[in-house]
Symmetry: C2
């Protein structure tokens, strides 16, 4: 085992230096434009890459360099693309997070992202500007292991699916409703999409011009398998809102990878997956091969208002779509069975041969109380009573160039009044504010973050929040119920084989403890991956080692104060 670890370390070193000698450069040229699309049979505008949504899958090998030239052909709208799960070591300016690491790319501009995929695994990319991700700009990144490296699981073929939820309203309508007084909620998504395909049940009253149930764009996604073969299925979610449960009718799934890390294999009948997460599961086509089976996604954690999204597991040589399975598509466990989902979170551990042990102690603990608040008549999400606002000059530029007036220089609040706050009571939130403060982390220090969930004001519930950290993977030390106790609960941390992730669920009325090393010079967003929640302020920013960040490329500049750093020398 020690040998394997050494080998792995060696490979990591080789690959990080091997860029010049062995690694490849993958060049992509992407034109971003609006197109009329019918992913669920209902025609609406979507933001597309080279005319498609989802966009192309980026296929690379560990250590390769990805170069994506983005041409913004939207008419009047800017864009920025985030490479979700890629740590951007040495290239913090190409994280693609508008307002944090770059100015938006204006129409007509070309912007070139260049970065190294330094770890194998399954990752995502998606728009990171306003709520543009909801409009269809997203796709997969698959990074293969180095030649000769053997993964701790075997399979005959590698497939992937990306899950999404889909509204017929425009993202502008969604976003304007969120910031309106009074707050207007667009309602639950119309459809769930598997690889960009869903099926909206056009009501009879619906104008047929915009809903065409025979449009081939919305024919169901088909996963064809050969009887007896074993498959690695990469599953990723970029939902704007929905927590999902994924099931392949009649086939158990063995979870082997999460967010690019090997996990101790565990078997599930179905997989809970939150927005921003990726998994690899292994399954064998070992059922009656004379028929096909359902792929099914269902909304969980939130009372579903969206029908089951379905695809077809097609046993070769059956016809992919005819006849469809006569069984009913799998239903998820009860949507409000928090314990079911909690258990999956706890079951996920690092693979014993690939444990990267966490530092035994941390230098700093930040506790973040997640609440929904009213601020100046607007409904907001807050962390320790501060609802996050993006400044107009991106943080990375502001911090590196010491533009102190660009954002609030007071430190963001380190904790909340956990002794007296009742997470089961309707929040009082007498003094929530919007703000731009950040957390400045000592370089190479170890930081614990405790996410604390609580009751929402409007009803008796507490939502699931998938928190995503840019620029790092973190160890998931514990999930807990109720209120985190800083004295008692750290003793329960799993310091032996915690899973590493970049996105983790905070369960209703629970808490999640995570640890990371502030070892990646840059400025990094940490936020709820629910598009509406982040839009309503559910995020914080970490800055670390910015003095070690090299000269910022001028391509990320052009907005706010960063205009002053452009120009010929």
């Amino acid at each position: 085992m020690a040998q394997v670890k050494r080998l792995l370390l060696l490979l990591l070193c080789v690959c990080s230096t091997a860029r010049l000698v062995q690694s490849k450069v993958h060049f992509y040229s992407w034109e971003i434009s609006y197109q009329f699309k019918s992913p669920d049979c209902y025609k609406k505008l979507a933001v597309t890459i080279n005319g498609e949504t989802p966009g192309p899958t980026i296929l690379a090998q560990q250590g390769d360099t990805i170069v994506v030239e983005v041409k913004n052909n939207l008419l009047t709208e800017n864009v920025a693309i985030h490479w979700h799960g890629i740590r951007q070591i040495g290239t913090p300016w190409f994280d693609g997070t508008e307002g944090v690491t770059q100015c938006p790319i204006v129409p007509g501009d070309n912007f070139i992202y260049t970065f190294v995929v330094d770890r194998p695994g399954t990752y995502l990319y998606h728009a990171h500007y306003g709520m543009q991700r909801s409009a269809g700009l997203y796709g997969l990144i698959q990074v293969a292991v180095p030649d000769g490296f053997v993964e701790p699981f075997a399979y005959d073929d590698d497939r992937s699916i990306i899950l999404n939820d889909w509204w017929h309203n425009s993202t502008y309508e969604l976003a304007t409703g969120l910031s309106s007084i009074p707050f207007v909620w667009v309602g639950e998504p119309q459809s769930l999409l598997i690889n960009g395909r869903g099926k909206f049940n056009c009501p009879a009253a619906q104008p047929t011009s915009s809903c065409n149930a025979t449009n081939p764009e919305c024919s169901p996604f088909v996963l064809t398998v050969v009887p007896g073969k074993t498959y690695r299925l990469r599953i990723a979610s970029v939902t704007s809102l929905s927590a999902l449960n994924f099931e392949i009718e009649g086939h158990n799934l063995t979870v082997v990878e999460a967010d690019g890390h090997y996990v101790k294999p565990f078997v599930v009948k179905n997989l809970n997956i939150y927005s921003g997460e990726t998994y690899s599961v292994i399954f064998t086509a070992n059922q009656d091969p004379s028929r096909n089976y359902w792929l099914a996604v269902n909304v969980v954690s939130r009372k579903p208002g969206t029908p089951t999204g379905t695809g077809i597991l097609n046993y070769f040589p059956n016809h992919p779509n005819r006849p469809p399975p006569t069984t009913a598509p799998p239903a998820s466990p009860p949507w409000n069975d928090t314990e079911y989902r909690f258990k999956q979170s706890v079951d996920a551990r690092a693979h014993p041969n690939y444990v990267l042990p966490p530092p035994p102690t941390s230098d700093r603990t930040i506790i973040l109380l997640n609440t929904q608040n009213m601020v100046d008549g607007h409904m907001k999400w807050s962390l320790n009573n501060v609802s996050f606002n993006l400044p107009h000059t991106p943080y990375l530029i502001a911090v590196k160039e010491n533009l102190r007036h660009v954002f609030d220089q007071r430190p963001a609040p380190e904790t909340y009044d956990y002794r007296n706050y009742d997470i089961y009571a309707k929040p009082k939130n007498p003094n929530a504010t919007t703000g731009t403060p950040i957390y400045r982390l000592g370089f190479n220090t170890t930081v614990d973050v405790i996410l604390q969930n609580a009751k929402m004001p409007g009803n008796s519930s507490s939502e699931t929040h998938p928190w995503h950290l840019h620029g790092h993977d973190f160890w998931v030390l514990a999930h807990g119920h109720g209120k985190f106790d800083p004295e008692r609960d750290p003793k329960r941390y799993n310091l032996v084989d915690p899973i590493m992730k970049n996105t983790v669920a905070l369960h209703p009325f629970g808490w999640t403890a995570l640890r990371f090393r502030a070892d990646n010079p840059g400025v990094w967003l940490f936020h709820c991956h629910i598009e509406a929640h982040f839009s309503m302020g559910m995020g914080v920013v970490f800055a670390e080692g910015v003095d070690r960040v090299g000269k910022l490329p001028t391509s990320i500049m052009g907005c706010g104060e960063s205009k002053n750093f452009l120009g010929s020398p």
Copy 2:
């Protein structure tokens, strides 16, 4: 910061000279945002100024300075605002024309427009970026004569209305359809708006959530008059598509002003008005005062698919809305009665006391054949077979800084093969292209432009195009039928009392001759004011005296090559 400094300097200058001329500075602070609005009872997103569409009317006096601080609070969309009819003498960089005089204003940015309204009259402002004008960003500018100046007509009170057409589709849907292969036309507008108010007749099948016929936002516009009094009514049109005919039931209108110029008064039963035009008419409330009367706008020149837009002429002290007139709202003359509209164009002459005589000869004649073409599968509009594309670096910056690779340096085509081209035949257009060439005009030269209409490829018609020139007023020397003959037709020019305008109609299968002095240093757009037509390439650009243009403000920069001119010195 530099912008603020410049503003302060300008204010100082204005104020120090103001002792002599008594001009004032009007400061406006405008926040641009999306809001749900129901101008015609149907709720949809609109681009608003301080939450309103139309925006506030700018009221000023000749020689005053207007300062508008625009804060872009759109989520992901840029903006630019054009001050239509204001010549921007000395401030060509504040014309507000994205791609010609400035980069777009990105979300979060503040942009300060500062300009002098140097002529009295009725003008417009509106978005000039993509098809954003259609989304609701528009309003009026009224410039009063200097104290003591007596206008050549008398009235008791001054009122204004602004006309628009309105779609329920988003402007993104309109625009994406126009650039799609195959071309997708959104269809005729759902409503005509008078001062931002119309009435869509919600079909029974329509979801009531988005259509509310009792919403006060869509109560009809009411123009209250006192019996016996005489009114000046300013009428402006910012339609995206429609040529309109305006009538006040039972009241003749005396036309006295057009595009800020006094005209020889002429009486009409109803007024044809094209997008981008403004008029003042005089009418007297001299009808039976016991009832109210209709204000009515109808689509002309194009087969109407939009109901009559109505408002109420309310004789005080009747109730404004109850009961509505029992008569039918006035219908327009037949929509395809081109001669009726042609006659109004020809009837408009300069007021005898205010003739600004045109130069008797011109230094250059540019003939522009207006055709619809297919270019690489896209439907386009072309001038002399060139369909206009905006470059990514605004022309003003490119020309002034001599960035020769930013746009096509070859001169734009001066004429077409008028000897052989049959304007009544379906166009062959074998070699139309898209391009960025411009017309470089000798400073202080006199330029004639002949607009030549022709048959469209798709049907047997020829459309009316309202051509608008930025930075200048021009003399309208003649309107003609058929094909302009460069030998014969200049002899028919009215060199005695031609009307001056900034927007003029090119009638179906006709031609329009205009003359202007290239005396305003800058780069100026000349284009069809139909939003879809300009978006499809129906425009040209004139550059003149750019060496006399002062240092460009950095606030207009930040896109394309103009990034290189930013930065601290």
